[in-house]
Symmetry: C2
Subunit: 151 residues, 2 copies
DNA sequence: TTATATAGGATTAAAAGACTCCTTTTTATC
DNA sequence: GATAAAAAGGAGTCTTTTAATCCTATATAA
Protein backbone atom coordinates (compact mmCIF):
# COMPACT_ATOMS: atom_id res chain seq x y z
CA UNK A 1 0.00 0.00 0.00
CA UNK A 2 1.19 3.43 -0.89
CA UNK A 3 -0.77 6.61 -0.58
CA UNK A 4 -1.02 7.95 -4.09
CA UNK A 5 -1.57 11.57 -5.00
CA UNK A 6 -5.22 10.77 -5.59
CA UNK A 7 -5.47 9.35 -2.08
CA UNK A 8 -3.79 12.37 -0.57
CA UNK A 9 -6.10 14.71 -2.50
CA UNK A 10 -9.14 12.76 -1.37
CA UNK A 11 -8.12 13.22 2.24
CA UNK A 12 -7.60 16.94 1.68
CA UNK A 13 -10.97 17.24 -0.01
CA UNK A 14 -12.89 15.53 2.78
CA UNK A 15 -10.91 17.47 5.35
CA UNK A 16 -12.02 20.69 3.70
CA UNK A 17 -15.66 19.67 3.43
CA UNK A 18 -15.67 18.63 7.07
CA UNK A 19 -14.51 22.10 7.97
CA UNK A 20 -17.51 23.71 6.25
CA UNK A 21 -21.07 24.01 7.52
CA UNK A 22 -22.86 20.72 7.52
CA UNK A 23 -24.82 20.05 4.33
CA UNK A 24 -23.35 22.99 2.47
CA UNK A 25 -22.69 22.60 -1.25
CA UNK A 26 -19.13 23.68 -1.90
CA UNK A 27 -18.05 24.42 -5.48
CA UNK A 28 -15.43 22.01 -6.71
CA UNK A 29 -13.21 24.90 -7.71
CA UNK A 30 -13.20 26.26 -4.18
CA UNK A 31 -12.12 22.93 -2.74
CA UNK A 32 -9.49 22.55 -5.41
CA UNK A 33 -7.99 25.98 -4.92
CA UNK A 34 -8.08 25.92 -1.14
CA UNK A 35 -6.49 22.53 -0.85
CA UNK A 36 -4.14 22.72 -3.83
CA UNK A 37 -5.72 19.97 -5.84
CA UNK A 38 -5.79 20.04 -9.69
CA UNK A 39 -9.44 20.79 -10.37
CA UNK A 40 -10.11 18.29 -13.15
CA UNK A 41 -8.40 15.60 -11.19
CA UNK A 42 -10.54 16.40 -8.19
CA UNK A 43 -13.52 15.75 -10.43
CA UNK A 44 -12.45 12.15 -10.86
CA UNK A 45 -11.60 11.71 -7.23
CA UNK A 46 -14.89 13.19 -6.08
CA UNK A 47 -16.70 10.63 -8.20
CA UNK A 48 -14.99 7.86 -6.32
CA UNK A 49 -15.79 9.43 -2.99
CA UNK A 50 -19.40 9.78 -4.12
CA UNK A 51 -19.58 6.14 -5.12
CA UNK A 52 -18.31 5.24 -1.68
CA UNK A 53 -21.15 7.25 -0.16
CA UNK A 54 -18.89 9.78 1.48
CA UNK A 55 -20.03 12.81 -0.43
CA UNK A 56 -22.60 13.81 -2.98
CA UNK A 57 -21.99 15.62 -6.23
CA UNK A 58 -24.52 18.27 -7.16
CA UNK A 59 -24.59 19.03 -10.87
CA UNK A 60 -25.51 22.19 -12.71
CA UNK A 61 -25.20 25.82 -11.75
CA UNK A 62 -24.55 26.27 -8.04
CA UNK A 63 -23.44 22.69 -8.01
CA UNK A 64 -20.50 21.28 -6.17
CA UNK A 65 -19.64 18.83 -3.44
CA UNK A 66 -21.53 18.10 -0.29
CA UNK A 67 -20.51 15.82 2.52
CA UNK A 68 -23.17 13.25 3.27
CA UNK A 69 -21.68 11.62 6.33
CA UNK A 70 -20.90 13.14 9.69
CA UNK A 71 -17.22 13.93 10.29
CA UNK A 72 -17.18 11.55 13.23
CA UNK A 73 -18.44 8.79 10.97
CA UNK A 74 -15.78 8.95 8.26
CA UNK A 75 -12.32 7.61 8.82
CA UNK A 76 -9.04 7.94 7.00
CA UNK A 77 -9.45 4.31 5.99
CA UNK A 78 -12.83 4.99 4.36
CA UNK A 79 -11.49 7.86 2.31
CA UNK A 80 -8.24 6.24 1.34
CA UNK A 81 -9.80 2.93 0.35
CA UNK A 82 -12.50 4.74 -1.60
CA UNK A 83 -9.87 5.94 -4.02
CA UNK A 84 -7.07 3.43 -3.95
CA UNK A 85 -9.10 0.33 -3.28
CA UNK A 86 -8.81 -2.07 -0.38
CA UNK A 87 -5.38 -1.84 1.18
CA UNK A 88 -2.97 -4.70 0.66
CA UNK A 89 0.70 -4.61 1.44
CA UNK A 90 1.64 -7.24 -1.09
CA UNK A 91 0.44 -9.20 -4.06
CA UNK A 92 0.54 -12.46 -2.17
CA UNK A 93 -2.42 -11.55 -0.05
CA UNK A 94 -4.32 -9.94 -2.87
CA UNK A 95 -3.80 -12.58 -5.50
CA UNK A 96 -2.71 -15.88 -4.09
CA UNK A 97 -1.86 -16.88 -7.65
CA UNK A 98 1.18 -14.62 -7.53
CA UNK A 99 2.73 -16.98 -5.04
CA UNK A 100 2.53 -20.71 -5.11
CA UNK A 101 3.11 -20.97 -1.42
CA UNK A 102 0.16 -21.74 0.75
CA UNK A 103 -1.43 -19.03 2.76
CA UNK A 104 -0.46 -20.63 6.01
CA UNK A 105 3.18 -19.74 5.35
CA UNK A 106 4.65 -17.83 8.26
CA UNK A 107 5.67 -14.88 6.12
CA UNK A 108 2.08 -14.41 5.05
CA UNK A 109 1.03 -14.32 8.67
CA UNK A 110 3.30 -11.37 9.29
CA UNK A 111 1.99 -9.46 6.29
CA UNK A 112 -1.53 -10.30 7.33
CA UNK A 113 -0.91 -8.91 10.78
CA UNK A 114 0.81 -5.79 9.46
CA UNK A 115 -2.05 -5.14 7.09
CA UNK A 116 -4.68 -5.57 9.79
CA UNK A 117 -2.80 -3.20 12.07
CA UNK A 118 -2.45 -0.58 9.39
CA UNK A 119 -6.12 -0.69 8.49
CA UNK A 120 -7.06 -0.53 12.14
CA UNK A 121 -4.94 2.54 12.72
CA UNK A 122 -6.48 4.30 9.74
CA UNK A 123 -9.94 3.20 10.77
CA UNK A 124 -9.53 4.70 14.19
CA UNK A 125 -8.80 8.15 12.81
CA UNK A 126 -12.09 9.92 12.19
CA UNK A 127 -12.18 13.26 10.45
CA UNK A 128 -13.87 14.79 13.45
CA UNK A 129 -10.74 13.95 15.41
CA UNK A 130 -8.42 15.13 12.69
CA UNK A 131 -10.22 18.43 12.42
CA UNK A 132 -9.45 19.30 16.00
CA UNK A 133 -6.05 20.20 14.66
CA UNK A 134 -7.13 23.29 12.78
CA UNK A 135 -3.82 23.75 11.08
CA UNK A 136 -4.81 21.37 8.29
CA UNK A 137 -7.82 23.34 7.13
CA UNK A 138 -7.74 26.77 8.66
CA UNK A 139 -8.39 29.17 5.73
CA UNK A 140 -6.08 31.83 7.09
CA UNK A 141 -3.31 29.39 7.66
CA UNK A 142 -3.71 27.95 4.19
CA UNK A 143 -3.70 31.40 2.60
CA UNK A 144 -0.55 32.22 4.52
CA UNK A 145 1.10 29.07 3.25
CA UNK A 146 0.26 29.94 -0.34
CA UNK A 147 1.69 33.40 0.04
CA UNK A 148 4.89 31.98 1.40
CA UNK A 149 5.17 29.64 -1.52
CA UNK A 150 5.13 32.50 -4.00
CA UNK A 151 8.36 33.85 -2.59
CA UNK B 1 4.73 1.04 0.90
CA UNK B 2 4.09 -1.90 -1.31
CA UNK B 3 6.03 -5.10 -1.44
CA UNK B 4 7.34 -5.31 -4.97
CA UNK B 5 8.29 -8.48 -6.75
CA UNK B 6 11.92 -7.72 -5.96
CA UNK B 7 11.06 -7.48 -2.27
CA UNK B 8 9.14 -10.73 -2.35
CA UNK B 9 12.02 -12.46 -4.13
CA UNK B 10 14.50 -11.11 -1.61
CA UNK B 11 12.48 -12.61 1.20
CA UNK B 12 12.32 -15.94 -0.61
CA UNK B 13 16.04 -15.87 -1.23
CA UNK B 14 16.98 -15.22 2.38
CA UNK B 15 14.41 -17.75 3.52
CA UNK B 16 16.10 -20.36 1.37
CA UNK B 17 19.60 -19.50 2.51
CA UNK B 18 18.49 -19.64 6.13
CA UNK B 19 17.26 -23.14 5.51
CA UNK B 20 20.68 -24.31 4.35
CA UNK B 21 23.71 -25.19 6.45
CA UNK B 22 25.29 -22.15 7.99
CA UNK B 23 28.07 -20.64 5.90
CA UNK B 24 27.34 -22.78 2.87
CA UNK B 25 27.79 -21.22 -0.54
CA UNK B 26 24.64 -21.86 -2.51
CA UNK B 27 24.71 -21.42 -6.30
CA UNK B 28 22.49 -18.61 -7.44
CA UNK B 29 20.79 -20.91 -9.89
CA UNK B 30 19.78 -23.27 -7.12
CA UNK B 31 18.18 -20.50 -5.11
CA UNK B 32 16.44 -19.16 -8.19
CA UNK B 33 15.03 -22.49 -9.25
CA UNK B 34 13.98 -23.61 -5.80
CA UNK B 35 12.24 -20.39 -4.95
CA UNK B 36 10.90 -19.53 -8.39
CA UNK B 37 12.90 -16.37 -8.90
CA UNK B 38 14.13 -15.25 -12.37
CA UNK B 39 17.83 -15.96 -12.11
CA UNK B 40 19.21 -12.77 -13.65
CA UNK B 41 16.86 -10.73 -11.58
CA UNK B 42 18.04 -12.55 -8.48
CA UNK B 43 21.51 -11.37 -9.41
CA UNK B 44 20.46 -7.76 -9.00
CA UNK B 45 18.54 -8.44 -5.83
CA UNK B 46 21.42 -10.36 -4.29
CA UNK B 47 23.66 -7.37 -4.88
CA UNK B 48 21.35 -5.22 -2.84
CA UNK B 49 21.19 -7.79 -0.08
CA UNK B 50 24.99 -7.98 -0.14
CA UNK B 51 25.30 -4.20 0.12
CA UNK B 52 23.01 -4.36 3.14
CA UNK B 53 25.36 -6.87 4.73
CA UNK B 54 22.84 -9.68 4.77
CA UNK B 55 24.62 -12.02 2.43
CA UNK B 56 27.87 -12.34 0.59
CA UNK B 57 28.33 -13.02 -3.09
CA UNK B 58 31.12 -15.40 -4.03
CA UNK B 59 32.29 -15.02 -7.61
CA UNK B 60 33.82 -17.54 -9.97
CA UNK B 61 33.35 -21.26 -10.29
CA UNK B 62 31.70 -22.77 -7.22
CA UNK B 63 30.51 -19.30 -6.46
CA UNK B 64 27.11 -18.34 -5.25
CA UNK B 65 25.38 -16.81 -2.27
CA UNK B 66 26.24 -17.19 1.37
CA UNK B 67 24.34 -15.83 4.31
CA UNK B 68 26.54 -13.76 6.57
CA UNK B 69 24.14 -13.06 9.39
CA UNK B 70 22.49 -15.52 11.73
CA UNK B 71 18.83 -16.26 10.95
CA UNK B 72 17.82 -14.92 14.32
CA UNK B 73 19.57 -11.65 13.51
CA UNK B 74 17.84 -10.83 10.21
CA UNK B 75 14.31 -9.55 10.12
CA UNK B 76 11.74 -9.12 7.40
CA UNK B 77 12.27 -5.39 7.74
CA UNK B 78 16.00 -5.70 7.06
CA UNK B 79 15.46 -7.72 3.92
CA UNK B 80 12.56 -5.70 2.59
CA UNK B 81 14.20 -2.34 3.18
CA UNK B 82 17.44 -3.60 1.66
CA UNK B 83 15.70 -3.84 -1.69
CA UNK B 84 12.89 -1.32 -1.66
CA UNK B 85 14.48 1.30 0.52
CA UNK B 86 13.23 2.68 3.77
CA UNK B 87 9.52 2.15 4.12
CA UNK B 88 7.23 5.14 3.82
CA UNK B 89 3.51 5.00 3.43
CA UNK B 90 3.21 8.31 1.69
CA UNK B 91 5.11 11.06 -0.03
CA UNK B 92 4.30 13.57 2.67
CA UNK B 93 6.55 11.89 5.16
CA UNK B 94 9.28 11.14 2.67
CA UNK B 95 9.44 14.50 0.95
CA UNK B 96 7.82 17.22 2.93
CA UNK B 97 8.02 19.35 -0.19
CA UNK B 98 5.18 17.34 -1.70
CA UNK B 99 2.83 18.87 0.83
CA UNK B 100 2.85 22.42 1.99
CA UNK B 101 1.20 21.55 5.24
CA UNK B 102 3.32 21.46 8.31
CA UNK B 103 4.39 18.20 9.77
CA UNK B 104 2.43 18.74 12.91
CA UNK B 105 -0.80 18.28 10.98
CA UNK B 106 -2.97 15.61 12.57
CA UNK B 107 -3.16 13.55 9.41
CA UNK B 108 0.61 13.25 9.35
CA UNK B 109 0.56 11.99 12.89
CA UNK B 110 -1.65 9.11 11.86
CA UNK B 111 0.59 8.16 8.96
CA UNK B 112 3.60 8.46 11.18
CA UNK B 113 2.08 6.09 13.68
CA UNK B 114 0.97 3.64 11.01
CA UNK B 115 4.43 3.63 9.51
CA UNK B 116 6.13 3.06 12.85
CA UNK B 117 3.78 0.19 13.63
CA UNK B 118 4.36 -1.45 10.29
CA UNK B 119 8.13 -1.24 10.58
CA UNK B 120 7.95 -2.58 14.09
CA UNK B 121 5.90 -5.57 13.06
CA UNK B 122 8.32 -6.39 10.27
CA UNK B 123 11.28 -5.83 12.56
CA UNK B 124 9.95 -8.31 15.06
CA UNK B 125 9.81 -11.11 12.52
CA UNK B 126 13.20 -12.77 12.39
CA UNK B 127 13.94 -15.40 9.79
CA UNK B 128 14.72 -17.88 12.54
CA UNK B 129 11.13 -17.52 13.65
CA UNK B 130 9.78 -17.68 10.13
CA UNK B 131 11.72 -20.82 9.41
CA UNK B 132 9.95 -22.72 12.12
CA UNK B 133 7.16 -23.00 9.63
CA UNK B 134 8.90 -25.39 7.28
CA UNK B 135 6.26 -25.16 4.62
CA UNK B 136 7.90 -22.06 3.14
CA UNK B 137 11.20 -23.72 2.34
CA UNK B 138 10.83 -27.46 2.63
CA UNK B 139 12.39 -28.82 -0.59
CA UNK B 140 9.91 -31.65 -0.88
CA UNK B 141 7.00 -29.38 -0.40
CA UNK B 142 8.32 -26.95 -2.95
CA UNK B 143 8.92 -29.70 -5.48
CA UNK B 144 5.41 -30.94 -4.91
CA UNK B 145 4.07 -27.47 -5.55
CA UNK B 146 5.93 -27.20 -8.82
CA UNK B 147 4.59 -30.53 -9.97
CA UNK B 148 1.06 -29.45 -9.21
CA UNK B 149 1.54 -26.29 -11.21
CA UNK B 150 2.40 -28.23 -14.32
CA UNK B 151 -1.03 -29.77 -14.38
C1' DT C 1 43.62 -22.92 -19.57
C1' DT C 2 39.06 -23.91 -19.39
C1' DA C 3 34.61 -24.24 -17.64
C1' DT C 4 31.73 -22.27 -14.36
C1' DA C 5 29.89 -18.20 -12.06
C1' DT C 6 28.88 -13.58 -10.83
C1' DA C 7 29.36 -8.23 -12.04
C1' DG C 8 27.27 -4.64 -13.79
C1' DG C 9 25.77 -1.35 -17.42
C1' DA C 10 22.26 -0.82 -20.97
C1' DT C 11 17.94 -1.63 -22.56
C1' DT C 12 13.14 -2.78 -22.87
C1' DA C 13 8.24 -3.73 -22.26
C1' DA C 14 4.40 -3.28 -19.52
C1' DA C 15 1.84 -1.19 -15.95
C1' DA C 16 0.66 2.37 -12.89
C1' DG C 17 0.24 7.07 -11.73
C1' DA C 18 -0.99 11.75 -12.48
C1' DC C 19 -3.20 14.49 -14.97
C1' DT C 20 -5.50 17.11 -19.01
C1' DC C 21 -8.92 17.71 -22.84
C1' DC C 22 -13.12 18.08 -24.68
C1' DT C 23 -17.84 17.28 -25.70
C1' DT C 24 -22.22 16.41 -23.37
C1' DT C 25 -25.49 16.89 -19.81
C1' DT C 26 -27.52 19.04 -15.88
C1' DT C 27 -29.67 22.78 -13.50
C1' DA C 28 -30.51 27.54 -11.35
C1' DT C 29 -31.76 31.88 -12.86
C1' DC C 30 -33.09 35.56 -15.93
C1' DG D 1 -37.18 29.05 -23.09
C1' DA D 2 -32.48 30.87 -23.26
C1' DT D 3 -28.31 31.34 -20.94
C1' DA D 4 -24.55 30.56 -18.13
C1' DA D 5 -22.41 27.96 -14.56
C1' DA D 6 -20.92 23.55 -13.25
C1' DA D 7 -20.16 18.60 -13.22
C1' DA D 8 -19.98 13.93 -16.13
C1' DG D 9 -17.33 10.98 -18.26
C1' DG D 10 -14.60 8.91 -22.00
C1' DA D 11 -10.19 9.37 -24.32
C1' DG D 12 -5.67 10.59 -24.45
C1' DT D 13 -0.90 11.95 -22.84
C1' DC D 14 3.23 12.06 -20.38
C1' DT D 15 6.11 10.31 -16.66
C1' DT D 16 7.70 7.08 -13.43
C1' DT D 17 8.13 2.62 -11.64
C1' DT D 18 8.40 -2.18 -12.03
C1' DA D 19 10.16 -6.27 -13.65
C1' DA D 20 12.95 -8.13 -16.15
C1' DT D 21 16.51 -9.49 -19.86
C1' DC D 22 20.89 -9.08 -22.67
C1' DC D 23 25.49 -8.97 -23.08
C1' DT D 24 30.31 -8.23 -22.29
C1' DA D 25 33.70 -8.36 -18.67
C1' DT D 26 35.73 -10.36 -14.81
C1' DA D 27 36.71 -13.75 -11.22
C1' DT D 28 38.00 -18.33 -9.63
C1' DA D 29 38.29 -23.57 -8.85
C1' DA D 30 40.12 -27.42 -10.93
Amino acid sequence: MRLTRAGEYAVRCVLYLCGQDRGLIVPRREVAQSMEIPEQFLGKIAQQLARAGILEIVQGAKGGLRLVVAPDQVTLLDVVEAVIGEIFLNDCLLRSSSCSRVNSCAVHQVWLKARAQLRETLASATFAELLKDKVCVDPEFLAQQRLEELR
